[in-house]
């Protein structure tokens, strides 16, 4: 029998330290749903999603009950819709988003990802139509998430897409002005986007993926913080070792749930995403882990180094705990979804510039950042350009999820509710980047040797 201390440790992690499975995400290929008739394509999409995912929520809840581990979200990701919709005669892709929304509602999931386009080297006709329909699609649907990949290390940066995404984000914000620009919280602009990420809003089912797959994202910043509280003042070797061991345990939980879910649903197991995903709840913050390491506030000098250590140790511990690791796998630093980040931003410890530096050493990027409503589309594009450049040059995924909250300015706070939390409006560099963004074209792929 497992010894009592181990049993109590597990229960304590779940009950007091907010250990949970953040998401079970079912990836569904829609490649066989193409049709020259838009209505027919949408019928196929709806039928396929509701057929394959009909038991997803129930199985998730069963596992939750039987193993006593909370599973916060059950979600669906699908093939980028631009690839499916472009076979049809439709001009407006909002209808496809509505279909996804209905399918999500019917299956009971809280988000469906994949209203997406991959345009790192250029647009197809379908990509163009999809991107144009994003603002309306996200403001008229509830559960649909959208992502656009504008750059890769191999292709460089599509600056035309970067420019357009600045405008799309502004439009999406204005269409949901009464909700603080909520539509932008469901839209991610990526560089080097992973094809098997289970986390929203950036999840989609990549073209190299199987017919249907289960990916799982774990979470547990609170558990890591509590473990570090026990090694106060110890050297960094001890800190890294403690995080590794904790990450191992957290990930084993994810592996178990992923295998069990895929077995019960009769769907292949894809990956476990080794991410530390915070929530606005107290005791579930990545920023507080960094502060536990000895920083007065997240954002102080030393934050990037602390995050680098955390991110690396989480991966080292997690990799051995799971047979297949993928997705984003790293610490998330979404400002509005992390109590410690919110606090650090309000107190002026954390700036967009510091967050940008932090994204060089951890997963994702500038995530859930609220900026003043009068921030121009060009400035948003320039923020995107900076962030994707970091990803492209460093051969990693980076992303931007930014909300120019209409009518809000520095000092205000925007409430999104639920897991999306509340974001303090952060200061943006007031100098213009308009002429830079206006150039358009592509920034060539970076050289892969002579790396300094």
């Amino acid at each position: 029998m497992i010894n009592p201390f181990e049993i109590i440790e597990t229960i304590k992690m779940i009950q007091e330290e907010n250990l949970d499975i953040r998401t079970i995400t079912m990836g569904i290929s829609l490649r066989d749903c193409c049709d020259s008739n838009g209505n027919e394509a949408r019928r196929k999409i709806y039928d396929k999603i509701t057929r394959l995912a009909k038991d997803l929520v129930k199985v998730g809840e069963d596992i939750e009950r039987e193993y006593g581990i909370p599973i916060i979200n059950k979600r669906i990701s699908v093939t980028p819709i631009s690839l499916i919709a472009e076979s049809s005669d439709e001009e407006d892709y909002v209808k496809f988003a509505e279909t996804l929304d209905k399918a999500a509602e019917a299956t009971g999931v809280n988000f469906i990802g994949g209203f997406s386009a991959l345009v790192h080297k250029g647009y197809t006709m379908g990509d163009k139509k999809l991107i144009q329909s994003i603002p309306e699609a996200l403001s008229t649907t509830e559960r649909v998430c959208s992502s656009v990949n504008v750059a890769t290390t191999k292709a460089g940066i599509n600056m035309d897409a970067v420019r357009e995404m600045g405008e799309v984000i502004k439009k999406a914000a204005n269409l949901t002005a009464d909700q603080g620009g909520l539509a932008c919280a469901k839209l991610v602009v990526f560089a080097n986007v992973p094809e098997d990420n289970p986390f929203m809003a950036g999840a989609f089912h990549g073209v190299g993926e199987p017919e249907c797959v289960i990916n799982v994202g774990v979470s547990g910043p609170g558990v890591v913080k509590c473990a570090l509280e026990k090694v106060k003042g110890a050297d960094f070797g001890t800190v890294a070792e403690t995080i590794k061991k904790t990450a191992f345990k957290i990930t084993r939980m994810g592996q178990l749930v992923a295998q069990e879910a895929s077995r019960r649903l009769g769907v292949s197991f894809g990956i476990v995403d080794l991410s530390l995903a915070p929530t606005p709840a107290i005791g579930d913050s990545v920023a507080h882990i960094l502060e536990e390491m000895g920083l007065e506030k997240c954002g102080a000098h030393g934050t990037t180094a602390a995050l680098a250590l955390l991110n690396d140790a989480v991966k080292k511990g997690g990799v051995m705990a799971s047979s297949y690791v993928g997705g984003l796998s790293g610490a998330f630093i979404p400002v509005s979804e992390d109590a410690g980040m919110i606090d650090a931003a309000i107190q002026g410890a954390l700036s967009i510039e510091k967050l940008e530096a932090m994204t060089c050493v951890c997963s994702v990027g500038l995530d859930m950042i609220v900026v003043p409503g009068n921030t121009s589309a060009e400035t948003i594009s320039a923020i995107i350009a900076d962030e994707v450049a970091i990803g492209v040059v460093n051969n990693k995924t980076t992303a931007v999820r930014i909300i120019p909250a209409p009518g809000k300015d520095v000092g205000d706070k925007v409430e999104f509710g639920g897991l999306l939390g509340s974001g303090p409006v952060m200061r943006v560099n007031p100098f213009k980047s308009d002429e830079f963004i206006k150039r358009g074209g592509r920034i060539p792929a970076p050289i892969q040797s002579l790396r300094n």
Partner: protein, 89 residues
Amino acid sequence: MRAVITVIGHDRVGIIAAVSTILADCNVNILDISQTIMQDMFTMIMLVDISKATTDFSDLAQQLEQKGNEMGLSVRIQHEEIFNSMHRI
């Protein structure tokens, strides 16, 4: 199939009797039982066999939880596998 039942709270008369009555009614066999005081809390851990149980898992969990609430204790049942996977390679 085996599960672990944990009872955490303040010690009092009749805890084991209450839990084991429910288990007997549901035809759940107790394989091992241990109790200790951990951080000033009474902690009882039972390993049980639920393969011949006459009620389904969620019903059993609910009955135990309800009994726990009545007695001011936290009573939970979880598949053994979650502890094995977390603590054993």
